[in-house]
């Protein structure tokens, strides 16, 4: 009784624990902020509607699965568009304008390359790189083996390197 998601307190706690992660997960897939927001809401509504069937411990994987399924159901997939973050200024004094320009070009290339990755590769790669998730966790979220995550990571890196160095 106490561990059901139907309790408002537990439901809120789950939202605060996983809402952001689900948002990132969907964003890595579709690159659309609004769509990611919508799907987060939809996933949590589904969770509330099924709160009696979902134990507290299963809520996280339920949310990921539901969000993923709803994403797949939506027809229009957009390319991931990532904004370039401001780099941490620990080398600022030595940075020549040429270096900064080079850096900027490199990031633009990388951004395009990431957008061209397959959805499976990109999700795994960004979950690892931006979210800082370990392979085991990614495997759990995507419902695949750790070996498969390794493969996707290798493929993503190889594909990114090819694209950046070719252009």
């Amino acid at each position: 009784m106490t561990d059901t998601v139907c309790s408002e307190k537990i439901y809120n706690q789950i939202y605060h624990n996983w809402g952001k992660s689900i948002f990132h997960f969907i964003f890595f897939k579709c690159g659309d902020e609004d769509q990611a927001n919508d799907l987060v809401q939809e996933a949590f509504i589904k969770l509330w509607q099924n709160c009696e069937k979902v134990p507290k411990e299963k809520a996280k994987s339920f949310l990921y699965t539901v969000a993923n399924n709803m994403f797949l159901n939506e027809v229009a997939h957009k390319k991931v568009v990532l904004k370039h973050a401001q780099l941490q200024p620990h080398k600022i004094n030595e940075q020549s304008p040429e270096y900064l320009l080079e850096e900027k070009q490199y990031h633009e290339k990388l951004q395009k390359a990431i957008a061209n990755l397959t959805e499976a590769q990109r999700t795994a790669f960004l979950l690892n790189r931006i979210e800082g998730k370990k392979y085991a966790e990614i495997a759990e979220i995507l419902g695949i083996s750790v070996k498969a995550v390794e493969k996707r990571m290798s493929q993503a890196l190889a594909s990114l390197r090819n694209e950046i160095e070719k252009i």
């Binding site: 948002f23 809401q41 904004k83 690892n128 890196l157």
Partner: protein
């Protein structure tokens, strides 16, 4: 060591500095490292947690959030608490003893749940359970009362001096201090006191004092006189008569006399002067009344 293995170790954040240095020497792996590090610096749109949550909750409210919350444990507990309160108060009220008490100069006439009639004399008290009345006709009495009991199961009157049991009759019970009088007007009454059991047939009355049977006499009346606002005595101690007078009128009695005389007669409950006259005249006494204070003195002493 396998560089691919080290690369995955690095991506999992488990590689040592030496291992990373090893990867940097390889041109292919060093570009993997560069890509990996550069990707870290990408910014993703911030998740507006609160805003999304309020949008979410408003959708939930529209859909079925409120319906569901009706059945949440919090509400069930509240409903259960209210039900428990109602049930306990019902049981409490049902099990409560019904008590009827009379003050000085007050008489109370009422019916018990089985339509038996009770007349309660002044300064008396009766208590009984309304709920269990059908299964057990039992009440407690302090003071004096006259009962007209409907025929049925055993009817018992418990007093500090003993228990009076009948099946259906008319009788009067007087139980004050150490005096216990039972008068039977109809049927048969059984009186249990200390370890004795006495049957009182119709038209008889018994007097018990200090747990001893004093007298068992017959009488001619069909109902106690006090019910008709008159107290009757036969060969009674004047003290007992005056005690009864004090129960029927709110007065204090002062007297210097040793009233060990006996009195046969009656007094009314409606007029104090008349009542005092009917007590004092046969005993060669006189009295004055002032502000509820009655002084009784010998007639010739003035």
């Amino acid at each position: 060591m396998d560089k691919n293995y080290i690369l995955h170790k690095y991506l999992n954040g488990e590689a040592t500095i030496e291992e990373i240095e090893l990867l940097k020497k390889d041109s292919e792996y060093s570009s993997f490292l560069k890509i990996s590090e550069a990707t870290k610096a990408f910014e993703i749109p911030t998740f507006n947690s609160e805003e999304t949550f309020s949008a979410l909750t408003s959708k939930l409210d529209k859909k079925e959030g409120k319906v569901r919350s009706l059945f949440s444990s919090k509400y069930i507990l509240r409903i259960a608490a209210v039900v428990a309160l109602i049930v306990t108060s019902y049981l409490f009220l049902e099990n409560r003893t019904t008590a009827i008490t009379t003050e000085i100069a007050q008489k109370e006439n009422f019916f018990l749940p089985d339509a038996s009639e009770v007349t309660l004399n002044a300064m008396s008290n009766i208590a009984y359970h309304k709920k269990g009345w059908a299964s057990e006709r039992k009440l407690t009495l302090e003071g004096e009362a006259y009962f007209k009991v409907k025929k049925g199961s055993t009817f018992s009157v418990e007093t500090p001096q003993g228990t009076v049991t009948v099946l259906g009759t008319q009788f009067n019970v007087f139980s004050r201090e150490n005096k216990f009088h039972i008068t039977c007007y109809e049927g048969l009454v059984s009186v249990a006191f200390s370890d004795t059991l006495v049957k009182v047939p119709a038209g008889n009355y018994i007097t018990i004092e200090n747990n001893t049977l004093i007298s068992n006499e017959t009488l001619a009346v069909t109902s106690p006189s006090w019910v008709a606002n008159e107290s009757s005595f036969e060969n009674a101690l004047v003290n007992d008569v005056l005690s009864e007078l004090k129960r029927q009128y709110p007065i204090h009695i002062k007297t210097a006399l040793h009233l060990n005389k006996r009195f046969t007669g009656s007094f009314t409950h409606t007029d104090l002067t008349v009542a005092l006259r009917s007590i004092c005249d046969p005993l060669q006494l006189d009295f004055t009344i002032a502000n509820n204070e009655v002084i009784i003195y010998a007639k010739n002493s003035n």
